[in-house]
């Protein structure tokens, strides 16, 4: 994810899905339970997205899973410092497959204005990111846009992808072992 692989999933062989896979993929897309890893400003915009005016529930996402075991989508909203990095990685490792990561806002995606000694310059240094949402903080529309992008990804993912060698190799490049939960 995050890396070259995505493109393959969308354009390559993963594109031809069987009917079952299509059904499962659309079920997954319509029922993504998010784990909001909200640390700062973007968390407030995420709350606004949850609220009545934008209503994440429309996407079947109002059930927040604070337990990583039940979550499908890790929404990282806000600054991730170097002190927090290992915790984020642990949360990611605890999530069950299939899992996706949405980096919301400049800080989570790249460090934003906080190019400092204490801030991680983008969470993609420690975990694979599927979709980045720009903005500081992004408007709820943009967060929803990111979620739609994730849906696009989910709907084109084959059931076997998570067992593939490429996927394992990709995780390995982040020092994440499949069994290390």
């Amino acid at each position: 994810m995050g890396k070259i692989e995505d493109v393959e999933v969308i354009n390559g062989e993963g594109f031809q899905l069987s009917n079952l896979e299509k059904v499962v993929a659309s079920a997954r897309a319509n029922s993504m339970w998010p784990l909001p890893f909200a640390t700062s400003c973007c968390g407030i915009e995420y709350m606004a997205t949850m609220g009545s005016n934008y209503d994440l529930a429309r996407f079947g996402m109002e059930r927040m899973s604070f337990s990583p075991r039940q979550a499908d989508l890790l929404i990282v909203a806000g600054t991730i410092s170097k002190k927090l990095g290992p915790i984020l990685k642990q949360v990611y490792e605890q999530m069950s497959e299939p899992k996706w990561v949405l980096a919301v806002g400049a800080c989570a995606s790249s460090g934003g204005i906080f190019d400092t000694y204490s801030v991680l310059q983008g969470i993609d240094r420690i975990i694979p990111v599927d979709v980045y949402v720009p903005g500081c903080p992004p408007r709820p529309e943009q967060i929803i846009d990111g979620i739609m992008k994730i849906h696009e990804l989910v709907k084109h993912e084959s059931l076997r992808r998570r067992d593939s060698e490429e996927y394992k190799a990709m995780l390995h490049s982040y020092n994440i072992e499949i069994d290390a939960k």
Partner: protein
């Protein structure tokens, strides 16, 4: 403690009346409030299908303006890059050569102009800093994307297309002031 300001007023009353003690009236009152909302029209924006009209001065995606003759305004002075708190702007200046007068308004122009949209915090300081009416923030939203590289917006995506001009006339930094 004595009052510091002479304006103090105790606002929290912790004594419960009998009706409050037996839970039910308050519970039914609360349920009545939520019940009324059952019939209220929701004001949810169905986002991808409906779009909210943003204020004209919204600080969204940048645009590099052209003048009336379609020439790029930017003269690569670098003020925007200096003013950027996120250090997201990169530019390489070049001298205009003969024959390019219809492309660039000033004698210098930006050969390369990149904004790292993931770094950008949309504070609008570049717009304020620009002395040449070249860079503006607009009321367009930046889409999410899959790859970090795709957020480096070069001139291909920043400069307004010559046939689809972007209206920024309502922003205050155009020199016109919105009157009350």
């Amino acid at each position: 403690m004595q009052s510091l300001s002479n304006r103090k007023k105790v606002v929290s009353n912790k004594k419960m009346t009998f009706l409050e003690r037996i839970y039910l009236p308050a519970i039914f009152g609360g349920m009545w409030i939520t019940f009324k909302h059952l019939f209220r029209k929701n004001n949810t924006l169905k986002y991808p299908e409906e779009q909210r009209v943003l204020v004209p001065i919204y600080r969204g995606l940048h645009v590099l303006k052209r003048d009336e003759q379609g020439r790029e305004n930017c003269t690569a002075c670098g003020l925007c890059a200096v003013a950027c708190p996120a250090e997201a702007i990169t530019m390489v200046a070049a001298e205009r050569v003969k024959g390019e007068e219809n492309l660039y308004r000033e004698e210098k122009y930006a050969e390369l102009y990149e904004i790292d949209m993931l770094r950008c915090i949309f504070c609008g300081l570049c717009e304020e800093a620009c002395p040449k009416e070249a860079i503006f923030l607009t009321d367009r939203l930046l889409p999410a994307n899959f790859e970090r590289d795709e957020f480096i917006y070069g001139k291909d995506r920043l400069v307004e297309p010559i046939d689809q001009r972007i209206d920024i006339s309502k922003r205050q930094h155009t020199g016109k002031r919105t009157e009350l």
